[in-house]
């Protein structure tokens, strides 16, 4: 018996060995096949079970004012979405959601009944609304994290900054013009999830996909001063609207652009579309008597005139061809200085007759009229200045006092700033730098001189003339400041109606100037549209100029001229010294 067992033992071991070898070889072959030929397919299948891909858009950059105070920021919000195919009782779900979100039940129910896999219930919901919907514990409702734009200063510089749409795309102003720089880039990342579906290790990269920041030249405080004064001027004169611009004449940096009525960019859709655009840049106006400044500039620079050159002002009525030009008050002989100071239309026409239309045209072109300034804002108008070759005799006369020509408020203030800046025209700019999320400068915008419009000597003569406007008997006396010298010019332009004729009783009242005259720090333009109380620029706009200038110079720590040096000294450490 034992012999039989030992006789077949080797044979049986060999058989079992073969079977095992065959099985292991089969397993090995299958493993090899799976590992070598099917590895990528299997890896993909496995990763789909524990990896969850996410796609996000980097945060939009911040817009700062000149002192790095936030003007436009991106905040995290939650949007509520629904998956209609998962809803069992549409009416009940719609009712619960409508109650929690305070939205129309019928509209929501109709949208939930649509055969779509996904619908937005409410974009950018408030935290209170999100909590209310979360408490409903609805499986068919999802919460998606988004970023939305918020303007903490509300109406301040609203038209300049502009706004973004629901999807974060810039629609107006700086938001639109610098959309490519401000917007963040798309990025994808993968989150690993466990058996319960919880994420447990994200492969989110540390690279910052946020957009760049924009630093404006606008100063929030000066902007507020300007908006406040403009609002008061519009309200006091029962006017339709108003525009005011403050510029640094030496650099061309815009310190503020105000527009009234304003809008709140946090809810821009509730405002009239006409309020969306930045009218100081996009809209051309007939400048009116402000143009006499440039008529005088042409006379001094090209017409061999001095401030004392005299012109006969025809006692208030002057015929050119078939047309008659009038002055508000009749004048006899006036010097060039008096023509500007008393704002004589007839005097201005006589000045052009002496200097010639070509000189006036060239001067206007040199000051930048009829062409875009190139400011970094959207929708800029170039205004209109027709060639002097096409001017009739009356055209040269009317253009000399600002009729038959159009310019944007920005063009006017840039041109007046050139006089303040020794005749050098600076390119206006509103963005001074683009920075990254760490605050490091990516690109910088420095002041750019465009051209020498008139000589320095001519600009000094013009400053003397313009200073006389704010003297006691000048048309702009209401703009005179205590402690500072002011150069300026009033403007009262009749508006045209739909037929292109001058409308009765509709005026644009303006005042433009700079201060202090000896070392100009600010140039200011105030333009009030259709005032009904009175329409003279010296009464309507000059007081607003005064308010803006006085408060801005105080804010900028500009020493008043009449202060006796050394009489009052203050130490930062110990206060008043004596």
């Amino acid at each position: 018996m034992r012999a039989v067992e030992t006789k077949y033992i080797k044979f049986r071991i060999t058989i079992v060995g073969f079977i095992f070898t065959a099985l292991i070889s089969a397993i090995g072959a299958k493993a090899g096949y799976l590992q070598i030929y099917q590895s990528s397919w299997l890896a993909k299948k496995a990763s789909a079970q524990y990896e969850r891909p996410f796609k996000e858009l980097g945060k939009r950059g911040t817009i700062f004012d000149a002192n790095l105070r936030e003007m436009a920021v991106s905040i995290n919000t939650t949007s509520i979405a629904a998956y209609p195919h998962k809803i069992q009782d549409t009416a009940a779900t719609a009712k619960m959601l409508a109650n929690s979100l305070n939205i129309d039940f019928k509209i929501l129910q109709r949208r939930l009944l649509a055969k779509k896999p996904f619908i937005w219930v409410k974009r950018q919901a408030t935290p209170k609304e999100v909590n209310a919907v979360k408490n409903l514990n609805l499986d068919s409702v999802g919460f998606l994290s988004e970023t939305s734009r918020f303007y903490p200063q509300k109406t301040l510089a609203a038209q300049t900054i502009g706004f973004t749409g629901m999807d974060g795309k810039g629609l107006e102003g700086i938001e639109f013009y610098y959309d490519n720089q401000l917007k963040g880039s798309d990025f994808e990342y993968v989150v690993l999830k466990d058996a319960l579906g919880q994420g447990f290790n994200s492969e989110k990269t540390t690279t910052d996909y946020s957009g760049k920041n924009i630093v404006l030249t606008i100063d929030q405080t000066i902007q507020y001063i300007t908006e406040k004064a403009l609002k008061e001027a519009v309200d006091e004169n029962f006017a339709k609207s108003g525009i005011a611009v403050v510029m640094s004449p030496k650099t061309g940096a815009i310190l503020s652009i105000a527009q009234y009525p304003s809008l709140n960019p946090n809810s821009y859709e509730k405002f009239d579309r006409n309020l969306w655009r930045n009218r100081a840049i996009t809209d051309p106006f007939e400048p009116g008597s402000i143009m006499k400044v440039f008529t005088a500039a042409a006379a001094i620079e090209h017409g061999n005139c001095s401030e004392n050159t005299a012109f006969f002002c025809e006692n208030g009525e002057y015929r050119i061809g078939k047309n008659i030009i009038h002055d508000t008050h009749p004048h006899g002989w006036l010097t060039l200085k008096e023509v500007v100071k008393l704002s004589s239309n007839i005097g201005a026409s006589k000045v052009v007759q002496k200097t010639g239309p070509e000189s006036l045209y060239r001067t206007l072109k040199d000051f930048g009229f009829g062409e875009k300034t190139g400011i970094n804002c959207p929708g800029e108008t170039s205004g209109t200045v027709t060639s002097y070759k096409n001017w009739r005799a009356i055209d040269a006369g009317t253009i000399s006092f600002g009729q038959g020509i159009s310019a944007s408020p920005l063009q006017i203030i840039s041109a007046v700033s050139a006089i303040a800046n020794d005749g050098i025209l600076m390119k206006p700019y509103i963005v001074q730098a683009i920075t990254d999320q760490q605050g490091l400068t990516v690109s910088r915008f420095d002041p750019i001189p465009v051209r020498q419009t008139i000589s320095s000597a001519a600009s000094n003569k013009l400053k003397d003339i313009l200073m006389s406007v704010t003297e006691k008997d000048g048309t702009g006396f209401n703009a005179a400041l205590e402690g500072y010298t002011v150069c300026g010019k009033t403007g009262t332009a009749q508006k045209t109606d739909e037929t292109g004729r001058y409308a009765k009783g509709k005026y644009i009242s303006s005042f433009v100037g700079f201060t202090p005259a000896e070392n100009p720090e600010v140039a200011i333009l105030v333009l009030v549209d259709e005032p009904t109380k009175t329409h003279y620029g010296g009464i309507v706009s000059a007081p607003a100029f005064k308010k803006i200038a006085q408060e801005t110079l105080t804010y900028m720590n500009i020493q008043p001229k009449n202060r006796e040096a050394g009489k009052l000294r203050v130490s930062r450490e110990s206060g008043l010294l004596g």
Binding site: E70, I75, D194, R563, L568, S571
Partner: protein, 101 residues
């Protein structure tokens, strides 16, 4: 006598083999435990990273909201309103202005 020696040599070889296999088995099991411990630590750290990342996002969002609130509180409109309405302050006239050197 020769068989006894042969049996004794076989026994020694058997013990030696058993010792080798036991060592291999212990090493294998130890490595198994080490590997499992590493994996557990890895997953645990993964959860902690996710938790901290979420916390960072929440804090960053809170910081952002606080920045917005500061910007709102520092707005010139609000400050001017408090200065004039609550504190009774006015804009100084040039003669009242003191320029700090």
């Amino acid at each position: 006598m020769r068989d006894t020696k042969k049996i004794s040599r076989n026994k020694k070889t058997g013990l030696k083999l058993a010792a080798i296999w036991s060592t291999i088995a212990i090493l294998f099991i130890t490595e198994l435990f080490l590997y499992t411990w590493c994996r557990v630590q890895c997953v645990k750290t993964g959860y902690e990273i996710t938790k901290e990342t979420d916390r960072r996002i929440k804090l960053s969002s809170l910081q952002n909201n606080l920045k917005v609130e500061i910007a709102h509180l520092k707005s010139p409109q609000r400050i001017a309103k408090i200065a004039t309405m609550k504190l009774g302050l006015i804009i100084p006239t040039p003669e009242k202005m003191i320029i700090i050197p």
